[in-house]
Amino acid sequence: MVRIKIILFASFKELLNCSEIEQQLDNGTTIHSLCESLASRGETWEMVFSDADKTIKVACNQQMADMSTVLKEGDEVAFFPPVTGG
């Protein structure tokens, strides 16, 4: 098992009323399978995470990452919508 931290930003944080989750995962879990498991937490979670490949930006340890990334012990995974600064 590996233990990771999930962080949510902006509209995701607000919609899900959640900014941070600590989670235990099986070894070899990818970000894609993490999204599937998050989508099963409830209706709003499904809305945010069911089509994650297309609609969500994801960073692992503060570097942009893709869905095939395999998660390791202590990773910080952040999910957020496209950025709108400037």
């Binding site: 902006a10 960073a59 503060q62 952040a78 957020f80 950025v83 709108t84 600064g85 400037g86």
Partner: protein, 156 residues
């Protein structure tokens, strides 16, 4: 050529005059400087806008901005680059972002400032939420990213 770069992310109002002085007095051997300021729009279209809140991803935002500045320094002959970005609550008319560049010639300074802004809008982990009030009804809207901003980096 020696280059200095600086990144400021703050929840305090941006002191545009001070940032401009910072750029003008640290030009080094460059012959041109360009400054850009982006503000919370005040227009008929946004007449019910009462303000906005800017959120960011501390740590990641700084490193993404640093990457953008490093790319600009690689690409143009610059002596100084500075980016300042507000977070927290902002009122209409307040500055959101300041970019200052000093280049050997004006072309370097202009192009690098545009490059930095185009990349900042597409890559840096900031999110805007707009606050509106109309006839006593308040509503908040998360700003969505624009295709025109995505297209803007294609030219670089």
């Amino acid at each position: 050529m020696q280059v200095t770069k600086q990144i400021i992310i703050t929840d305090e109002p941006l002191d545009i005059s001070g940032l401009n002085r910072n750029i003008q007095s640290n030009q080094g051997e460059s012959g041109a400087s360009v400054i850009f300021t982006g503000n919370v729009r005040v227009s008929d279209e946004e007449q019910d806008l009462t303000g906005m809140t800017l959120e960011h991803y501390p740590g990641m935002t700084e490193s993404l901005l640093d990457e953008i500045l490093v790319q600009a320094i690689d690409r143009w002959e610059l002596t100084r680059v500075l980016v300042a970005h507000r977070v927290g609550h902002l009122s209409p008319g307040e500055p959101i972002v300041f970019v200052g560049t000093c280049g050997l010639h004006r072309k370097e300074a202009f192009e690098s400032a545009e490059f930095i802004m185009d990349y900042l809008k597409n890559k840096a982990t900031f999110w805007k939420k707009e606050h509106y009030s109309s006839n006593g009804l308040k509503r908040d809207v998360w700003v969505e990213s624009k295709q025109s901003d995505l297209d803007a980096i294609e030219r670089w």
